[in-house]
Amino acid sequence: MGKTIEQQIAELVETARPTPELPPERRDQALAAMEAAGRRPRHVWIWRLSAAAAAGAIVVAIALLGSPARSAWDTVAQVRDRALAAADEAETVHIYGVTPWLGRDVPGHGPEVVETDKEMWADRNGFSRMELRTRDGGQLFYLDLYNGMERVSYCPRQSSDDTSNAHRYWDPEEAQASRGRMQQRVKMQIRRDFSLLGEPDEYRRAAVTHGAVDVLEAESVAWHEDLHYDLHRGEKLRLRAEVDPQTGRLVTLTVFTFNAPSGTWEVKSESHYEWNVPIPGELRTFDIPKGTLEHRYHWWDTRADQVLAQKQTENWTVAVRALDANRSGAVYLSLSAAPNSSTTVTPAESSVVEVKVDAVDDRGVVYQADAEYVGLGTYLGTNIGFPVVLLRPAGESTGRVLTITVHPYMAAGQGQDPMTPDEPVSFRLPLPPRQDCDDVAEDGVELVQH
């Protein structure tokens, strides 16, 4: 059996530059690295703290506070772990509060970190919506929505010489994995806030008060710089968590930093949690406002689901799915060609469906396909996909309309002569605007002005 084109190329590449064997010492090195990685604790930073600093912190803590009750430390970890576990079981969550944000993204602010209002809705089926607004005036400056098929983020204009931008990611495959996304995001937030203080057994003080809500308070010092929270290593921190004693779910989670000059604790971040509340329907969609420049990513995948034009012959149904042009005017034709159910053609088991394409614009400029024929896959299998035919203009094209002629046919094998009669199908379609990239299909970014 002959080699496929892919196997031929893989062999060529390997022959051109053979992969040398790994030296034996790399095996030892790899095994040692794997063992170290397997041993590594979740919080890598622990190893980065010097032994002296750790010992010093313990001495200082004991000197200042005496030996704190071990049970309080345990309770901190228990509260965190129970909150994380409770998040796993929730159907929906609504979080609102205050969060720091880099000022350069916030209208009317410089680069310094500023307080902003945040609100987030999510359900366990993969939906999530987050909005950030200025504290002074409630102006929306960032929105992120994922509905299970696509993700949209929106940044409205911040000044008169600015543009509103939206970024749309078509990602239906992600939908398969999106169950549990809410849990991941919420747990990430909870972990993040707790981890600001480091590990519970390194807190300087921890206490739990039981009541209508259990209140946990813990103090520590920041163990790392955090740009988002505008934290500096060594800065004093306090975390206060209010927890539903029945379910273990968080009710509020607040992070404070200590303002040394004034001697007061100031709120850095505050999150209120509402669990299993219904999500208003209007929050599940977002219409990109007029005047916004939309950047579509992975938009190529939507091509297979749309039809610009469709025609039938005796044996074939040919559909143009999309026409796109790169910056030099080369046209990317997405099409499908399927044999009709009433076809008179008798295929062999190995028959393949292929197309040849030629095109000319209304100024007479001929467009040549970059491949003599394009395969759509085997006929008897289910592998008849939609191909992309790259059509390059023979000269500078100033035309507005492109006439495309598609010749679908069946062949006994890839690249072999047609075994069906020529049944050309012509389409007359407006030439698309040029995208600002060399390879439209590969770069996969489309700009749409709303």
Binding site: T4, I5, E6, Q7, Q8, I9, A10, E11, L12, V13, E14, T15, A16, R17, P18, T19, P20, E21, L22, P23, R26, R27, Q29, A30, L31, A33, M34, E35, A36, A37, G38, R39, R40, D171, P172, E173, A177, H298, W300, D301, A304, S334, D370, A371, E372, Y373, V374, G375, L376, G385, F386, P387, V388, L390, Q414, G415, D439, A441, E442, G444
Partner: protein, 203 residues
């Protein structure tokens, strides 16, 4: 280790992929050795190719990929990808990071600044006649293919040809959707076939 030897090693390490993953999650040293025996050569070949033959860095990234796989093995989901494509995905990201670092440095790593003479010596040392000719001819053909195909098109073809990955798995390695890869494969095959046919006619 050649592919054939890797197959033998794989046969020797008879545990299933599921057992291997379980072993890695439990920190079993036997699982580390098994991971090395079964997958190192394929990861190394992939990285070596993507780094255009920078052997030293390829070795380092291969080692780093294995360690990273152990570190992240809890996130591996067998329902979403094969273990090999997951591993190649890690290698791909590591390689990409290295290539970006190089772009920032704007210099050619010393390891790939190999004088042509030494390539010839290396080839001649193992086979005085055919191997060097074959290698040079293959390099010419690959050079022509690279001029005709984009980097991504070459990658999808090699990943399918060398590793027999499906479009979905290639997508997982390269961070693209299955449909985008299917479309790329169609185009890449057609362009490569045309190039190879033209090469044949030139001779």
């Amino acid at each position: 280790m050649t592919d054939a030897e890797a197959e033998v090693a794989q046969a020797r390490d008879t545990g299933s992929e599921e057992q291997l993953v379980q072993g890695l999650r439990e920190g079993d040293p036997g699982a580390y050795a098994q991971l090395y025996n079964r997958f190192t050569q394929r990861v190394h070949r992939f990285v070596h190719w993507r780094l255009s033959g920078d052997s030293q860095t390829a070795e380092e990234i291969t080692v780093h990929t294995l360690a990273e796989a152990v570190r992240c093995v809890r996130s591996y989901d067998a329902r979403r990808s094969s273990f090999l494509s997951w591993l190649l995905g890690i290698a791909s990201r590591q390689t990409l990071a290295e290539l970006r670092r190089r772009q920032r440095r704007k210099s050619v790593p010393a390891a790939v600044q190999v004088p042509l003479g030494s390539v010839a010596e290396e080839a001649l040392a193992s086979d005085p006649t055919s191997r060097l000719t074959e290698q040079i001819e293959a390099q010419r053909q690959v050079g022509r293919l690279r001029a005709h195909l984009s980097q991504l098109e070459m990658e999808v073809l090699v990943l399918q040809g060398a590793y027999e990955l499906t479009a979905r798995e290639i997508g997982q390695v390269l961070g693209k959707s299955e449909r985008a890869i299917s479309s790329l494969l169609h185009r890449a095959r057609a362009k490569a076939r045309e190039r190879l046919v033209n090469d044949g006619q030139d001779h």
